[in-house]
Every structure is written in structure tokens, then in C-alpha cells.
């Protein structure tokens, strides 16, 4: 689906034809799943996240401005959604101010990653999981989506040169993690991917 077809579908959705959003889902669901899967490191979480991202995009269509492509805008929603999920797991929230002297009770989600052995069986995935959220975001968008630094700069309000440096650092880290994980002379081609 090219840019014009996407914009046309968007126009019809805005006019009330929800089924046209199906075309956008067709075009975006797999890339978004790949993105969320590697951001979150968990298949089920990623599946839920993609649905949430589409629903959020649908809810917020009125706020979409054409300064970036629709797909880039959806990645931004996905980024913030994943970031929030990851932060929520970290944030030791108190849910209620219960009396009985119980002042801090937290919820934990990190163990979900343990369940996804499929993810942890792949050395590349393991290395990516060790990167920071920002680094993972950059790496996926560059490697999988071939997004340019200029576009990413618009999206994340950062200078292209800064993003390039961050990306190169992330690649280097990823490569070294993989070397450590596999203990061999593998993955040397990684640093040359971009």
C-alpha cells in the first residue's frame, strides 16, 4: 500500500467508513508487531500492544497532522505505548492508600518475559533486549523499517546527527552483547549494517 492509498483510506475513515481502516491495518499490523515485539520482548504483550496502538490511532485521528507519514505517526504512538508499558512495570505504584498500615504494594510484570522462551532463544533478540528502550527503538526503526535519520528526527524531536551517533552506539553494543552471548567471532557484519 503506497502513501497515496494510505491517505485515501484515512480520508474515508475520517468520513465515517471504519472498514477502510482495515486497509491501514493490513499495511501496518506486521511492521508494528515486529516493532512492539522487539521493544517489549514478549509475543503476547506485543499482540495486545498492536491492538492498542491501532485503537489509539483511531481515537486520535483528528490530531494527526501530515508533517510526517501516517506510518511514522503510528510508530510514534507505538513507541510511547511500549515506553509506558515498560515504565509501568518499573514504577512501584501504590494503587490504594489502604489503611491497615499497608503503604506500598507494587505490581510486577517483568516475569512475563521469562515465559517467552521463544524470544530468549534467539541471540539477536537477547542482545536487543539488553539495549535501552531508546536504543531498541532506533535500532528496530533503522534496521527493519529503513527509516531515515531525518524522518526519525522529526518524529522524536532530536537532531539527525545525534540519532546517527546513538544508532551507531546501539549497534556496537548489540554486537558486543551477541559476541559475549555466543562467545565466538560471530556477528562481525553487524556493525556494517548501516
Amino acid at each position: 500500500m503506497d502513501h497515496n492509498e494510505m491517505e485515501q483510506a484515512l480520508k474515508e475513515v475520517r468520513a465515517g467508513d471504519i472498514d477502510q481502516f482495515g486497509l491501514i491495518i493490513d499495511a501496518m499490523q506486521k511492521p508494528l508487531f515486529v516493532y512492539c515485539y522487539h521493544m517489549l520482548g514478549h509475543r503476547q504483550e506485543a499482540e495486545d500492544a498492536v491492538q492498542e496502538v491501532f485503537l489509539k490511532a483511531f481515537e486520535q485521528l483528528d490530531s494527526y497532522r501530515h508533517t510526517v507519514s501516517l506510518s511514522a505517526w503510528m510508530y510514534k504512538i507505538a513507541y510511547h505505548h511500549c515506553l509506558n508499558l515498560l515504565n509501568r512495570a518499573k514504577l512501584n505504584r501504590v494503587f490504594t492508600f489502604l489503611r491497615a498500615g499497608i503503604q506500598t504494594v507494587s505490581r510486577h510484570e517483568g516475569e512475563k518475559k521469562v515465559e517467552d522462551t521463544e524470544y530468549l532463544n534467539n541471540p539477536l533478540h537477547v542482545a536487543i533486549a539488553k539495549l535501552s528502550v531508546k536504543e531498541r527503538n532506533l535500532l528496530i526503526l533503522r534496521v527493519v523499517e529503513d527509516r531515515s535519520y531525518d524522518e526519525l528526527a522529526l518524529l522524536f524531536d532530536t537532531k539527525p546527527a545525534t540519532l546517527r551517533k546513538q544508532y551507531e552506539r546501539a549497534l556496537k553494543k548489540c554486537k558486543s552483547y551477541m559476541l559475549v552471548n555466543e562467545g565466538g567471532d560471530r556477528h562481525d557484519s553487524i556493525s556494517a549494517t548501516r
Binding site: 508487531f33 515506553l83 514504577l91 489502604l98 551477541m178
Partner: protein, 305 residues
Amino acid sequence: MTRSQQPDDWKQQLTAAADDFDVKEQVLQKMKEQKMRSEGKQVKKRLGLVVAAILVFGGTSAYAAMKVYELKNEKGEAVVKVQQTATPQPQSKSGNWKSFQDVRDSLKQGEGAAVYMAGPDNPKKRVSFTYIPVIHESTRPLQKEVGSFYEVPAELAGGYKFVNGHVNYPFDYSQAELFEEMYKEAENEKKQIVVRKVSPKSHFDRVYTLYKGSEGKERDGDVYIAITNFEGVKYIEEEAGQDAIVEKVKVQNYEGLYIAGKLIDGTEEKVVKVYQEDKNRLIEVVAMNPVLTKKDLLMIAQNLK
């Protein structure tokens, strides 16, 4: 991947996971339901998505939000979201609750623990963390611990005096090896509950203070104030029951929310939430005494520094 592999191999490996992924019908269905709801047709339908549940044993049914209230930062991004939902309040099983409290009772101040409760009530094998804070009975040591993040008042507007306060420290929640050990111990030794002492991180995420009025109607105190450190937090999302009152308010030139609802034990709770972007924090003033009114809470929040 080996030396001979091309860069595209990475892309291939990363994209392979999506081969059979398809949620189009589910998403479209939900969108249609959303549209129907917005048109006033109440469709109470399970979302089936991961929605925040309380505690390891807090089973609940989650329904789509009926209305969302937000506090935004200067960029217009929502930092506090309160969803008014038809979600039933989660009910904790009393046995689980008691076990959890027993664990807490076994800890000293400043100690933390990871708690895994095995069994059908915890199908996702969640591990909870709990921390027993060091309780300060005067403002000076608490002020020392929180530094310039928040000025701890000795007295609030309305004459409520400081009773005690503490600081909360989060944990590292991604301890895969620890969780595996706990699962194994529960399985091998047929344990219902497995506890491990763990240390929290060194940077605090919240400060709590409790105040009491001169009438002293409440046993523990009348007003709680919690200050959340927003460092590294994009936004906080919470749910309010469908019967809760949620209103926008103005405090110290910041936009805030007033929420009045009921806790899971039936206690009435009134809260004023104020997000202060310049100070990177969220202030919550919570009335534990039903006598306090919205006006009282706003006055207290208005005078905090």
C-alpha cells in the same frame, strides 16, 4: 549469524516473528464498538487486552473506558490519565491478602522482598515486590531524605499536623533468574508462597506523608500526601469506577483532577491530583477522613510547596 551473513539477515530474523500475525478483525470489531459507545449505545464488552490489575491476586474483569480525563504537559502530552470505567473493583482473596501481610510483617524497616504466590489464582505467575519503608515521625529526617525534591510541611492548611512520612524505593523488576528460582522452589517443595529478600534501587520514586487534624477523628490520620517523582515516567494511567466523580480543577495555576470514589474495602476516598511539570512531580492529596470536602483538599493542595 556468522561473518558470511549479510545485513539483511538481521532484518529477516527480526521480521520473522510477524509471519502469521493478524489482528485485523479484532481491531475493527473494537473500533466499531468504540464508535457505538461514543454514539451513546452502551456496549459492555470484554476488551481482552492487558489492563492493569491490582496485586498478584487481584483478578478482575476489565471493560472499555467510558470516559478518559487527562492532565497534560506543555507539549500537550497526557501525563496523568484517569479512565472512568465500568470495571468491577478487583477483590482480593482474604487468604492471599493475609499471606502477603504476613510477609510484610516479617520484614524490618528498610527491607524489601519479592513474593510469589503459586496456584490457580496466579495463572500468569506474577511476582509482587514489597518494601517496608523507614518511617519518620518528624519532618526533619524525612526532609533530609527527600532533599529539594519536595518541601515537607509540618502543618497543612486547615491545621492538619504531620504524623509520619516515608520514602518509597522501586525495585529491579526484571530478575528472570530470581523468578525462575522462586517458581522452581514453589513447584519442588509444593509451597504456596515463596519469599526472597531483595534490595530496592537507590533512587526513590515516591514520598508519602500523613497528617492528622486536631479533632483526630481518624485513628491513623486524616490526610495523605503522596508526591511521585516523574523522572523517567511518560504517564500514569489509573481507573476510577463508573460511580466515581472526576472533575478538572485548578491548583496553583496548574491543572488538576479531583476524584471521589470508593476503595476496594468500601472506604470513601477523595483525591486531588496536580501535575507540576516544572518540578517533574505529581502531587496527590488524599482524604482518609470522609469529613474532608473537595474544598478542604483544594486548599491543602494550594498551599503545598
